[in-house]
Symmetry: C2
Subunit: 211 residues, 2 copies
Amino acid sequence: MTRRSRDEGVRRVEILDAAIDRFGRNGYENTKWADVADDVGIGPTALYHYFDSKQHCLYVILDEALDELRERFDAITAEHADPRDALRAVCADCFALSEREVLRNRVLVAEQALLSGASTAQREEQARLAGREKTRALEVAWARFLADAMRQGAIPERNPRMLARAILGLYNSIWHWYRPDQTLVLPTLAEFFGARMLAVAGVQRDHAPVV
Amino acid sequence: MTRRSRDEGVRRVEILDAAIDRFGRNGYENTKWADVADDVGIGPTALYHYFDSKQHCLYVILDEALDELRERFDAITAEHADPRDALRAVCADCFALSEREVLRNRVLVAEQALLSGASTAQREEQARLAGREKTRALEVAWARFLADAMRQGAIPERNPRMLARAILGLYNSIWHWYRPDQTLVLPTLAEFFGARMLAVAGVQRDHAPVV
């Protein structure tokens, strides 16, 4: 990697960080693309070297978030032979978040609707379709994991796709109201909502399954 | 009531119905205010006799929805002496919906974010604040009901406000993906998600409490 491309990589991450911070705190619609440029200390024209538009940047944020969420899900479920242990570990990991990840979750849930509306610009449209497909694939991965846990008798038999939607729906709902600067801290959130997500699946945090 | 004011009342409901249908199926942003006028068969100018703007109409829809949700919640919880029966009845009632109410739920969850951003127009701002306050009040009513159920030993002791958010969060998540013309019918949704909402509270659909 040349010095120049390394510098460009660093700059790209800085722009993504600034955009996540702005989008997460003030909302995507309320954020001016020029403000993101200001935060990073570059001109608006230089910004277009990295992203075609504010929307393109948003799609890249969503796309990278979904890649990371999927990697974490796959790694943790692969680590545990017992499906109940795996589910407990996944539900705990859901709350092991940096401030950047909390803000990114806020962006994910607030702007999910944008993934359903088609864009006319080709590069934006590719990013949008990729994000939508990855959202679907993550839900399918959850459903497969849950179906497998049902087959092993670890959790009660139910429609696995709907159960995945219920667990993810409960989890996603948190980021509609939770803000990282709130007095309510992440460990409290993890304690409470981690157990509620397990209850949806029919699993107690530390004990036997609950039908 | 004069004939004229009765006619105006009927027309107002027609406009609200048309707006709920458009907003619920195509999204608020994608709906042109003039299309709503077309649906009802009046000119855009006549529309302004009833609503100041598309946004004002949206706020009225949200406001009326929250009034109805609150009335139903209050009536059903008052009907049942046993808190577990009351919770089961509320969770069943949540899915006793007309197509209009399903579409309105879609509008409610999709446009909830609009309730947090201030508007410059006075009448819109009043409607926005009323909607926000009623959303908060409904959550408080749920939390009070749950706290009372905890005191009576009907459901396990937990933070009632967070439990209210968890149950409502799970319920609201459904309307992000459910469409009334889907093959998945409401009774199936009620069967599955009603039981999962009860599981979040620590209650089984038909039996003893689950901790």
